[in-house]
């Protein structure tokens, strides 16, 4: 058994508004092991993003416990690069926020950018980059502070289909080669199957884990490769049915 790095134990969360309260999650338990890539899919509006906010510590559970052994890096749907900062300055942003803006850390972040093909764009502005490159820059920004867990909130959904497949491959390769733990939230079944080691299916609100599946693609970790394998369509069907229950 791998070391657990993130654990939700019997978590409930209630949202309060003036018009009432909503039970977003109830008795939700899950755990993510070190180095694991876990994808969570669920019907729309089931509170997937809430789950990431809980993991990132942005929300406190109403009941239960969220334990994180390590630091989190959050990646959103859009790249959210600051248009007035160069790519390099964008990548340094979390270092500045966490007051870790030392020459060594900057050098490390720069080396990461170089390693993953952003070297020539460090002095460019986000507007000068393609959507795929921008999302890659957003990932490097997330990695700049060397987080233990990456929280990915539908990070490809804002991209067009072709770019999406490429960036998906890209991001998977980078996360695997950096040996990071990742928790991906998505509504796209094929994305979950092609990326993850384990897929969790959530119920409608209030969210609970309904099913857990270990993906059986062996050593194939490239998303595009997985999409060509025979098991792929089987998983797609299974998850599709489970989602629509």
């Amino acid at each position: 058994m791998k070391k657990e790095i993130l654990r939700f134990s019997h978590v409930s969360l209630i949202y309060h508004t003036r018009h009432g309260e909503t039970l977003a999650a109830e008795n939700l338990s899950l755990s993510v092991g070190e180095g694991e890539f876990v994808a969570i899919i669920g019907p729309s509006g089931c509170g997937k993003t809430t789950l990431l906010s809980l993991a990132a510590g942005l929300l406190k559970p109403s009941a239960g416990e969220v334990e994180t052994l390590g630091t989190c890096g959050y990646m959103l749907q859009k790249d959210e690069l600051f248009p007035w900062r160069t790519i390099e300055k964008n990548i340094f942003l979390p270092l500045e926020i966490k007051k870790q803006n030392t020459p060594e850390n900057r050098e490390r972040a720069r080396a990461l950018a170089q390693k993953y093909g952003l070297g020539d764009f460090l002095q460019s502005y986000p507007a000068e980059l393609s959507g795929g490159m921008r999302q890659r820059a957003a990932l490097i920004r997330t990695l700049a502070t060397d987080p233990d867990i990456l929280l990915l909130d539908e990070p490809f959904s804002a991209l067009d289909y072709q770019t999406r497949l490429n960036v998906c491959d890209d991001v998977a390769a980078i996360i695997r080669s950096e040996g990071k733990t990742a928790l991906l939230i998505t509504h796209d079944i094929s994305e979950a199957v092609s990326l993850a080691d384990r897929v969790l299916v959530l119920t409608k609100r209030p969210a609970r884990v309904a099913y857990t599946h270990e993906m059986d693609f062996g050593d194939a970790v490239k998303p595009l490769k997985r999409r060509e394998m025979p098991q792929f369509s089987g998983w797609f069907e299974t998850l599709w049915k489970e989602l629509n229950q």
Partner: protein, 274 residues
């Protein structure tokens, strides 16, 4: 720069397109100048040349020129311009500074924002000129009263403009910073302030106009010098030449100040990009 080293090879069609654009610009500018010349000429003709309208009521370009020349000769031209310009610029700077600071405070505290909201709405709707007598009693009849009026006219607009810019900051970018563990201060100076630059410049443009309204209105109520004073005085003694001259100078100054803001915009935007 890369662009100057290799000369771009444009197609004939593109060159034609560029030429067309340039010609269009020339046409627009010529027409603008022609319109100005036409207005001045018509004005001069109907008043002094043909005498259809008594220049006593309409003044005329030549009489305006003479009036400005005589103001210049007796040394009062730049004195009046200076007085008004000083009041406007000082009022403008104070209004913008106070407006930005108050907007920041209101962004910072939602409670404060809610508490002050009705007061700001009322102050915004109130015609500031109604406060004229109060201002005279509080600040006397000097430039201070006029500067206060200028600030009063500009500050609410500046505050509301900046506040709505601060509040419109991208929620997802705030979420991103919060996920990095950013404090409210960091969110403010890393995100909220830089992303409000465009709105800040738009606010400056509005505030320039407001400051002129404030200073001239202030001079109407109470003044011993300045362009507003010249206009009011000219009106009272039926010297339309003086009224028109001061108005013309006012137009030029207001346009000049606006273009300074446009210049500032170019510099700021360039800096933001470099």
């Amino acid at each position: 720069m890369k662009h100057t080293e290799e000369k771009p090879l444009y197609t004939q069609e593109h060159l034609l397109y560029l030429k067309k654009r340039r010609n269009h610009q020339i046409v627009v500018w010529s027409l603008r100048l022609a319109l100005l010349a036409f207005i001045l000429a018509a004005w001069e003709l109907v008043t002094t040349v043909f005498g259809w309208i008594d220049p006593f009521f309409m003044s005329s370009p030549s009489r305006i020129a003479k009036t400005i020349a005589s103001l210049y000769e007796d040394g009062t031209l730049f004195y009046h311009i200076g007085v008004t310009l000083l009041e406007t610029v000082v009022g403008f700077v104070i209004a913008v500074a106070v407006g930005c600071i108050v907007a920041l405070a209101l962004w910072w505290s939602e409670t404060l924002r809610k508490v002050l909201e009705p007061y700001i709405v009322v102050l915004n709707a109130l015609p500031k000129i109604a406060l004229g007598p109060v201002i005279i009693i509080w600040f006397g009849t000097g430039s201070e009263a006029i500067i206060f009026m200028t600030v009063l006219v500009g500050v609410i607009v500046a505050t509301l403009h900046m506040l709505s810019a601060f509040i419109a900051t991208d929620k997802n970018k705030i979420l991103l910073l919060r996920s990095m563990g950013a404090s409210k201060w960091q969110i403010l100076y890393k995100l909220v302030i830089p992303s409000s630059l465009a709105s800040f410049i738009a606010m400056l443009k509005v505030a320039v106009g407001m400051s002129w309204i404030g200073s001239i209105m202030g001079e109407y109520i109470v003044s011993k010098a300045g362009l507003g004073y010249l206009i009011v005085y000219g009106g009272q003694v039926f010297k339309l030449d003086l009224v028109m001259s001061a108005t013309l100078i006012l137009c030029l100054l207001a346009a000049g100040m606006y273009f300074l803001v446009v210049l500032l915009e170019k510099i700021l935007v360039k800096n933001a990009e470099n």
